[in-house]
């Protein structure tokens, strides 16, 4: 007998014919795909657009091709280099100072930017009037942040006093490159021309001034190569640099939590889709057993029967994926509107063909992969079902293909999870977790069936008896339903759980307990008065923190001079040059967690006192628990030992410190205080406190 060849066109025709009366049955299957892929495409599109917009807008965020900055004036060794860079150059000094509004007699701590040159080269200082952004450099003019103008009821052509000089306000500053709403809220910005900085009297030896140099290249330059070359020299001169490329990376990173959460939403939606596909096809194929048996009886081979339904699944997978991609693209237009308050840049809503392509591809893959388990059982449907429908000879456990599909599904989940998490270990744990959840749910379903069989009493009413008996009768759907509903519920709960954690992390000012205003530079003599004033304004005093300025003198006996001599020492060059604002207290704050060593809140007299350092500080300077440090506290050397390393959540608006001293050491050191409060509107309070306590 000659073997019959498989007639592919006929298989397609049969797939079409067979689907005719069942298309509504496939609604669950197709909707699982549509919603899963829609979520994925929407999120992928948003992510691509975000990345594109970061790339496109990074230049205007930096304002120049290269920015070099440091905490001290450029010395003779680095000056020639700084003067040789770029085709166009600008210079800026930044410092924090009190300014005075003569008209309203108000004072306010602000961030003064003294600027010279054509910066910004990309984007602009957005001002009202527009021309003020450039013209303020031509005289004793200033640009003042719009919130400040509002606070002090100031107008263009009013004046402000910065140090010894009175500047005419020539424009209201709406936006400057590199600034976000949050930073300007904490310290509003005032721009003045650099040539008048000396006359203000604020730029003296010892002043805390930031020095920035902005460069623009007229012809394209390989910045990566350039900064690699500059890096050692700038590092030696204790200067940092930023390029458009590094800004892109940093901005991208700062959206990490948001994009990761959105990825999780997409991933969960997709997993729900997978569960939906598997259960819908399982039920669909069960309903098809009779038809498959008839076909087998008429001479259709097992592989042909399998292919007929595979063609259907692929077809529906394609339709569902395309519909999902269209829906996702539509949803993607809504996402930037919902998130506009969190984002410092405008997100475009371009159609992302990459996201659509990925969505459709993934949709087809999951349609087939998660439909394969029920599909391969088609091969084992006996034609004898035409004579006896209850006849079942399928030995599920012994079918090697079934195990292959299980492995493929596991590999898919691991790989896809890896693409989201970027960690093989986490992906494997996640997959093991899902597998355990699957087994627990399957066992629960099995147990339920056993219990029902044992406990159903003939005395029960017909309704209850039959209702519960259906859970264990032949062709029941108990296992598939419990597993599907259970896994889906677990996924959705996970999503809400993570959402809760993230919202807690990012909620800056949603609750009255969360500070949204910091009053700083409060002198010890003013501390009580400011706290009283705050309470008088019916505002909560959330935290009062003493701050002491210190420098590091020695790390394990090594000084800055030793570091210059021995370049092999694993200590950051900035460790000794930086000033550290430290505090002292006897307890940890809720944003801190000790990860190494032991927290000591009070210093023992006569002993080397233990300080607690922040995790990144520890890593950057290779300082660990037990290391010996010597601090210079305003001229007084104070030896200390590292008692603990803390992990700090820097995302909240509150004071966090790289170094925390125990109580009982710094109480008498020169210090200032910070007060944290929560205000419904920053406008009224700032003015009141600035007037009463200048």
């Amino acid at each position: 007998m000659e073997k019959r060849k498989i007639n592919i066109p006929w298989l397609f025709e049969m797939a079409w014919r067979d689907s005719r009366k069942n298309r509504s049955r496939l609604l669950l299957f197709i909707s699982a795909i549509i919603f899963g892929i829609a979520a994925l495409v929407a999120i992928y599109s948003f992510r691509y657009n975000l990345q594109n917009d970061i790339n496109a807008q990074a230049a205007t965020l930096v304002g120049a091709d290269l920015v070099v900055s440091g905490n001290h004036p450029a010395d003779a060794t680095i000056k020639p280099l700084l003067d040789s860079l770029g085709d166009k150059r600008s210079e800026e000094r930044t410092f924090v100072s009190m300014i005075y509004f003569p008209k309203s007699k108000g004072t306010r701590l602000v961030q003064v930017h003294a600027l010279q040159g054509g910066f910004p080269y990309y984007g602009s200082l957005e001002t009202i009037p527009v021309e003020a952004g450039k013209s303020f450099k031509n005289g004793e003019y200033a640009l003042v942040d719009k919130t400040l103008m509002l606070q002090f009821n100031a107008h263009v052509n009013d004046s402000i006093k910065v140090g010894n000089i009175t500047f005419l306000i020539t424009g209201v500053l709406n936006k400057a490159p590199g600034q976000t709403g949050v930073s300007s809220n904490i310290a509003p910005v005032v721009y003045i021309p650099l040539q008048y900085l000396g006359q203000t009297g604020l730029s003296k030896k010892g002043s805390r001034i930031g020095y920035s140099f902005y460069y623009k290249y007229d012809t394209p330059v390989n910045m990566d190569k350039l900064v690699k070359k500059l890096d050692p020299r700038l590092d030696k001169a204790e200067m940092n640099y930023e390029t458009i490329e590094t800004r892109k990376e940093n901005t991208g990173r700062s959206f990490g939590d948001l994009t990761r959460f959105l990825s999780l939403v997409g991933f969960i939606a997709l997993l729900l889709g997978c569960v939906g596909v598997a259960s819908a096809i399982h039920i669909y194929i069960r309903e098809k057993i009779a038809s498959i048996a008839i076909m087998r009886c008429l001479g259709v081979k097992a592989s042909e029967a399998f292919l007929i339904y595979l063609i259907q699944i692929v077809g529906i997978g394609i339709i569902g994926s395309i519909a999902g991609a269209v829906l996702g693209t539509a949803i993607q237009h809504i996402l930037p509107m919902v998130m506009k308050d969190f984002l410092p840049l405008t997100i475009s809503t371009d159609i992302s063909w990459m996201a659509i392509g990925q969505g459709i591809f993934l949709g087809i893959i999951i349609s087939v992969l998660f439909a394969l388990l029920p599909l391969i059982s088609i091969r084992n449907i006996s034609p004898l079902n035409t004579l006896r429908i209850s006849y079942e000879d399928v030995n599920i456990v012994r079918d090697p293909l079934r195990w292959l599909v299980y492995i493929l599904i596991l590999l898919f989940v691991i790989t896809f999870t890896y693409l989201q998490l970027d960690s093989w270990l986490a992906s494997i744990f996640f997959t093991i977790g899902i597998s355990i959840a699957f087994l627990i749910l399957a066992f629960t379903a099995w147990l339920l069936m056993k219990l029902m069989r044992a406990f159903i009493q003939s005395s029960w009413s017909y309704l209850w008896r039959q209702g519960f008996a259906n859970l264990y009768r032949p062709n029941n759907q108990t296992i598939i339903l419990i597993v599907s509903i259970g896994l889906s519920t677990a996924f959705i709960c996970t999503l809400f759980f993570i959402q809760g954690i993230l919202i807690n992390q990012v909620s800056l000012s949603s609750s009255g307990n969360q500070s949204n205003m910091i009053l700083f530079d409060i002198q010890t003599s003013q501390e009580k008065a400011v706290a009283d004033l705050t309470r008088q304004q019916k505002l909560p005093v959330l935290q009062q923190v003493p701050i002491v300025t210190v420098r590091l003198e020695k790390i394990n006996g090594k000084t800055a001079a030793d570091l210059k001599k021995d370049t092999t020492l694993k200590i950051s060059r900035h460790a000794f040059s930086n000033e550290y604002r430290v505090t002292y207290r006897d307890t940890l704050t809720p944003t801190e967690k000790v990860i190494k060593g032991e927290w000591v809140g009070k210093a023992d007299a006569g002993k080397e006192f233990p300080v607690s350092i922040e995790d990144n500080f520890s890593k950057r300077n290779h300082i660990n628990v037990g290391d010996h440090l010597v601090f210079n506290v305003q001229g007084v050397s104070m030896p200390a030992v590292v008692g603990s390393v803390r992990q700090v959540n820097w995302n909240k608006i509150q004071t966090n410190f790289q170094v925390v001293f125990p109580a009982g050491v710094l109480e008498d050191a020169p210090q200032f205080h910070v007060l944290l409060t929560h205000v419904p509107s920053s406008k009224a309070v700032s003015k009141g406190s600035c007037t009463k306590i200048p």
């Binding site: 073997k3 009886c297 034609p383």
Partner: protein
């Protein structure tokens, strides 16, 4: 289920397997038609030992040599009457399928119902479509499992007449499984089984 049953069926003959419920009639039909494989013994069909064939090879044997009629018709519900008749021919890769299938539907009196789905047809009509399908691949042997079991007396009579007429016209071997002795008497030979054993093998007046 079955114990020591030996018999052979001559080409072109009509045969009935009768017995009470649970006697093993359907099991015997399943084995003879290659729908099932036996744990021991030999089933030969057209000199092909079915026991030595794989499931797919038996499917090909069924498509090449066998026609089926079932008690509950077993039409594919998503295919029209005409498409149901066409399936065995399409599987064989034959030509002029539509015309030949329409001709068969005409023979069973359903030429004008070809585009109806099974759910739109009465029981008798469905069984007639099933008959047209069974004869579409010009089988050498036709297995019928209680072909009138789901039909009323009047319809049964018409269907039985059609089975025997078409069978005679095509010269097909017929094996009927039934517990309707009146129907069995219309064949040339009656095999009686009980408790899985062949208890009688009688020729009828039609032999």
């Amino acid at each position: 289920m079955l114990d020591n049953i030996n018999f052979s069926v001559a080409a072109g003959s009509t045969n009935a397997i009768v017995g009470p419920s649970g006697s093993g009639k359907t099991t015997l039909l399943g084995l003879c038609a290659g729908l099932d494989s036996s744990s021991s013994g030999i089933v030969e069909l057209n000199n092909i030992n079915l026991g030595k064939l794989s499931e797919d090879e038996r499917a090909q044997v069924r498509n090449q040599y066998i026609g089926f009629i079932f008690q509950n018709f077993q039409l594919l519900p998503t295919l029209t009457a005409l498409e149901n008749v066409m399936v065995p021919l399409e599987l064989r890769g034959e030509k002029n399928i539509r015309a030949r299938s329409l001709d068969l539907l005409d023979k069973v009196g359903l030429a004008d119902r070809g585009h109806h789905y099974p759910a739109q047809l009465s029981g008798g009509e469905q069984q007639r479509v099933s008959l047209a399908r069974a004869f579409s691949n010009a089988p050498q042997i036709l297995f019928a499992d209680e072909p009138t079991g789901n039909l009323d007396a009047e319809t049964s009579e018409k269907v039985v007449k059609l089975i025997f007429d078409l069978n005679k016209e095509a010269g097909t071997t017929l094996v009927l499984v039934t517990h309707d002795l009146e129907l069995a008497a219309k064949t040339q030979r009656i095999l009686r089984i009980k408790g899985g054993k062949l208890i009688a093998d009688d020729k009828t007046v039609n032999a």
